[in-house]
Amino acid sequence: MSQMTLIDAIRAAMDEEMARDERVFLTGEDVGPRGGVFRASQGLYDKYGGTRVVDSPLAELSIVAVGIGAALADLRPICEIQFADFIHPAFNQIVNEAAKMYYRSNGEWRVPLVIRCPYGGGIAGGLYHSQSVEAFFTHCPGLKIVIPSTPEDAKGLLKSAVRDPNPVLFFEPKKGYRAIKGEVPEGEYFTPIGKARVAREGRDLSVFAYGMMAHYATIAAERVAEQEGIDVEVIDLRTLLPVDRESILASVQKTGKALIVYEDNRTMGYGAEVAALLADEGFEFLDAPVRRLTGPDVPGVPFNHGMQEFFMPNPDKIAEAIRELAGY
């Protein structure tokens, strides 16, 4: 085992996959000599050269579309969208093209494409460097949506994503790029797409979260265990699409209570689907209303620090929501 940050683990996954398979290449804005604005690809240009680490024009639509074309030609592109906030020009290519290609060609044409995309708030990014965009895409069958919260998962999931024959959106909680550190196994391993992870076992209440919020939920769970003796189970969803229904239902069957935490806007966010699943198939397990702790329904995360912190869920707010639900 070695200690890594989240972003080190992402870089290590790309490095391993590029070393293994000559079809794997990276493109996006500033991914070349600069190594990406977050340094996700630092050193890869020097190691693999400009043919495989390609600075794209400043145009997200075609970063994705060229990736789709290259994937159709059986390469294995990793496309970086610099911030999730900038993915919207590529929405048509992702939703109408990548997601539908296999279906519309009766299973003939595949799009083995990875779109890496830093997302999330709390980093003084304002409206356009803080967005959580996962809910737009989790509504879209044909895509796989992955969000890691630990270095171990980031590496294992990204390697699985590169080898997946389908388009995978790989959202990275950028606030955790260097803030989240953890052990990463030596040698090659894969984390399966489609399986949630029990981040902390518990009996009293289930918290469902992903990305930075899964990290925070684990901190909050330890705190309430220590302070109030509340035994929280934290499920790090890791894959949002396809939905891991079994893991969600199994946890609530055990605890009877569910809190869903996401930093996206509340309404129609990912938690709505988790809540609907529980209402539909987990109704008899429930001892309390399903609760959501989320960002508010406002157009964006404000730049002002106080307003930003007001917007963002954090360990304190999660601990408070846990206490409230535990006491129901």
Partner: protein, 345 residues
């Protein structure tokens, strides 16, 4: 210019290929006409037509390495698709949305696709295929640069061909694709089939320049205008474009000036936006009749052979229609299939 182009093209192609080109154009036209009739008879739900575009499409197709080079067509490319190797039965199955259709009955007709021929499935939002074609061309160049393929190996794709209408060049997708093509000097041919109308909106409402091809200069790629109703000229410019791509000299933007002699689709009525006189004028410039006349004049074709070919093509269309009508519908539950490709290993 046109005469010289025709001469060069004819010399390069030879008589039997010239006849093959004529046959594909005729087949496309008769298949297209039958589709309109089937729609009027209430047998099919929708048809979108390429009538009038046959010369631009077939001339282009014969200039590339058909079935090997990548083709990412648009919805008017019936003649192009037939020239690459899709069959009338493939098309009829898509019209009827029957089992055996290359989309499995999921797509509306004229979304041509066949992996075995390297024809890529397209969608309906226009110009989406163009930056993907740049990606296909990018992959070709990537493999060559990585030493994974020999750039002269004709068994491998060496260019990506894509088509669209002039109206679709208003999309940002097209601009971004041309920019990639120029920056990366991609082995690509982009054929804009300029038929003057985007459904009802005339070209002067789409762009302030007369020729789409003028824009090539802004992307650092070659731009050329061709009479899209002249199949030999269309072949010749596409041939030059293909050689440019094969030789590592980058992308060509071809603007084929042509005309759609029928409404946009079976749901359109073109009387609201263009005069009958204008349509009649273009019908008189029909690309198939024009090529037929040239072939007769060159004594490559005879009147008797024209009649025989008409009969052969009609039989082929009849057969395709019968095959589609006899084919079963896909199972309704097939709506649930092919959402995700299976993960192997």
């Amino acid at each position: 210019m046109a005469a010289a182009q025709q001469e060069r093209a004819a010399a390069r192609l030879g008589e039997s290929t010239l006849m093959e080109i004529y046959r594909v154009m005729l087949l496309s036209r008769r298949l297209d006409e039958r589709s309109w009739a089937l729609h009027r008879q209430g047998k099919i739900a929708f048809h979108i037509s390429g009538m009038g575009h046959e010369a631009a499409q077939v001339g282009t197709a014969f200039a590339i390495n058909r079935t090997v080079d990548y083709v990412h067509p648009y919805y008017r490319d019936l003649a192009l698709s037939l020239a690459i190797g899709l069959t009338p039965t493939d098309f009829m199955l898509s019209l009827y949305a029957k089992q055996g259709d290359t989309s499995g009955g999921r797509q509306m007709p004229s979304h041509f696709s066949k992996k075995a021929l390297n024809v890529v499935s397209g969608s309906a939002p226009v110009a989406t295929q163009v930056p993907q074609a740049a990606g296909l061309a990018f992959a070709i160049k990537y493999r060559q640069q990585m030493g994974l393929v020999d750039p002269n190996d004709a068994s491998q794709p060496r260019l990506a061909l894509t088509c669209l209408g002039e109206g679709s060049t208003s999309q940002g997708e097209w601009h971004e694709a041309m920019n990639w093509a120029g920056v990366h000097k991609l082995p690509m041919i982009c054929v804009v089939q300029n038929n003057i109308y985007a459904i009802s909106v005339s070209v002067d409402q789409q762009m302030a320049v007369r020729d789409v091809a003028d824009r090539a200069a802004a992307y650092g790629i070659e731009g050329v205008v061709v009479d899209g109703n002249d199949v030999l000229a269309s072949y010749e410019v596409a041939h030059e474009a293909a050689q440019r791509a094969y030789n590592g000299d980058g992308t060509t933007l071809i603007e084929a000036k042509t005309y759609r002699i029928v409404p946009h689709s079976s749901d359109d009525d073109d009387r609201s936006y263009r005069t009958r006189e204008e349509v009649a004028e273009w019908k008189a410039k029909d690309p198939i009749l024009r090529f037929q006349k040239w072939l007769l004049n060159e004594q490559i074709l005879t009147d008797a052979r024209v009649q025989e070919l008409e009969a052969e093509v009609k039989a082929e269309v009849d057969q395709a229609q019968a095959a589609a009508e006899a084919a079963p519908d896909p199972a309704p539950e097939a709506a649930l299939g092919d959402v995700y490709a299976p993960v192997e290993g």
